[in-house]
Point group: C2
Chain length 440, copies 2
Amino acid sequence: MPVTITGLRTYDIRFPTSRELDGSDAMNPDPDYSASYVVIGTDATDSLEGHGFAFTIGRGNDVQTAAIRALEPALVGRAVAETLDDLGGMWRALVHDSQLRWLGPEKGVVHMAIAAVVNALWDLKAKRAGKPLWQLLAELPPEQLVELVDFRYLSDALTPGEALEILQRAEPGRAERAAQLRDGGYPAYATSPGWLGYSDEKLRRLCRDAVGQGFRQVKLKVGVDLADDIRRLRIARDAVGPDIRIAVDANQRWDVGAAIDWIRELAPFDPWWVEEPTSPDDVLGHAAIARAIAPVRVATGEHVANRVVFKQLLQANALSYLQLDAARVAGVNENVAILLLAAKFGVPVCPHAGGVGLCELVQHLAMFDFVAVSGSMDDRVIEYVDHLHEHFVDPVRLSGGNYLAPNRPGFSAQLRPEAMVDYAYPDGPVWKPIAGWTGA
Amino acid sequence: MPVTITGLRTYDIRFPTSRELDGSDAMNPDPDYSASYVVIGTDATDSLEGHGFAFTIGRGNDVQTAAIRALEPALVGRAVAETLDDLGGMWRALVHDSQLRWLGPEKGVVHMAIAAVVNALWDLKAKRAGKPLWQLLAELPPEQLVELVDFRYLSDALTPGEALEILQRAEPGRAERAAQLRDGGYPAYATSPGWLGYSDEKLRRLCRDAVGQGFRQVKLKVGVDLADDIRRLRIARDAVGPDIRIAVDANQRWDVGAAIDWIRELAPFDPWWVEEPTSPDDVLGHAAIARAIAPVRVATGEHVANRVVFKQLLQANALSYLQLDAARVAGVNENVAILLLAAKFGVPVCPHAGGVGLCELVQHLAMFDFVAVSGSMDDRVIEYVDHLHEHFVDPVRLSGGNYLAPNRPGFSAQLRPEAMVDYAYPDGPVWKPIAGWTGA
């Protein structure tokens, strides 16, 4: 009998982060960082399981978990080896289920549920192969990488043939770049200094600390009060000096006109990019902002629903940095598509991270991009936020402002068993004493 | 003590429509038309309740229902009169809940849940006022209509001042147009003839029937097989003659290039519009198709996630007809915004309907548009599909190819109690004998 998938175990895991204002920004004043978490089990004797999750910020994590459960019938009973050998086919089967597709299509809760499951399958595949995911992906032949991608709705911007060319062009230097990664890691930037809820003093101290730790870029949340933003940006610039990049992040706070006006007021402090200036759905709005605020650059992506919207942001010259998210689009396969699109348009990918476990995931994608797609680390950084890593079995490792290459098998997605008990919502021991807690 | 909202009752209602291939199209071969249904109760002595729903096509209707349940804490205990007097404020509170917003933002399951609840609140408001919703809306002062709209992300295309001007311009003729509606109704077009699963003979007969019933437009599903489409379009054109408009609907089947090629092949049969030629997220793709296939027109909207995407479709000249959906965007308030955007850009609104109860809902929106926003019925039609109306307390009434104006209080959203029992999933009497049914 072939080894089969036996079931999905799901968990509603929430961290009461809103009590400390960690993660506070212009649109999200009181997030409780959460994971709608899934473990894919098999009847193999190796006891390997696939772990994945969708990241949410509290309320609704139960709805997200219900959506993951709705995918179980598509998985249970499938042969593990065949499934993992054709994750492109599995992706299409999940995304194009016509009845579930109606609930998006390809966006929101159902798409994020597919992200969790697809990423868990990749975690399992990498564990079975005994390799970290970035390495597994970066060793696949270009033809197999192309097969992972669904080109539906992409072919006016990227054809399978063009994708293959991009991958083949990067093939000769793979081994050298993998070695370079293992030696020196991949540059990070630090978001932790700049949460809106922090005092000026804490902002200044954390900015200095970040530079001291080797980061060459920090990020500040902006967008609630212009005078506050100017004061905080002045403090940050003063703390880091002229050579460190300071990004600002509005978390979708503005309309198009307001974004342009606000960013012009911040321009004297030389912000490197402005992130999520407006609705993530507004391709034309981002393009208008990008034209108006140059040479300040536009970055976006953490809330971009799918590859079709990324395609348009690239077609419209609406962004200078593409910030893919590991678990909002439908997992690894869709992110391979997005990396290829970005390579085609020559736009650097600087992944969104933070939350619960997003740093752990995106490092693999950025490193795969470096080794096998764009072939470059120039002008690229992975977001780094120093939250909640202690709850992961294979947490990120930073050194000198760089992410070190993961070397354990898998996608680094696995929570520690005790975290899954302690932070279970609403009945885990962390939540019991604060029952009814719904934000700061 | 003021009257308050006491709770939400939710129901997973599914109709096993896939057994008859009603509703079959190029992307949705076997839909089981479903409603994630909500009843908002109060402690008033009048026994009036608000009914609303999200429309889905089967699997995932339980996830949709879980999302509606997640909104209950935002409603329970609120004073009914205050809530119904400020549905603009209620809409903002629901849509901008920062934690739930993360799961979209403003798209997918959570946004559709808000649609169900917001529409149920409008149903309750109209019942309490003793008026059909279209009339209630059409009698509101322009200033109050503007207050219903959240202009966030819209102001580069439509300001509150411009919206007020549009509404004030239409104010003088309101009473006359309302009388005209009550006399003659509002034009419909017929989708029922053209489902993909129907035989040529059935197609021909239903096309003739539609013309005989007074419809001036029919619609055919296309997009699976070009030779089939050409044959079916020839049959339909032959059946209806040269003066009846034939729309074709690809239900998102094509990439941009394929859409253009395919539609050119169908052009000899004079299709009036092509609907959903590609991904509903692809504003630039729709614009490219629209340029390439003129004078054939592009229509879309039933899967457009929110007002921000509609804004861009209008800005990019990507559509000739805007097909709003009553329960995909966040209900009446967002549709008022969309009607105003369409009026600003001079694009006719031809609502999407069908499914479960969508005809019942959108007739109110189109009639409100005629009386108080665009002030015109020219070149406008409401989709009509003859499914499942018998399950509603206040079903649509058609005459001579026109929707007759509803005259009962409310939003016509209420299912008959026996339907809610019979089609309850998975334990209602219709489902019990076909347990495990998951599509044709």
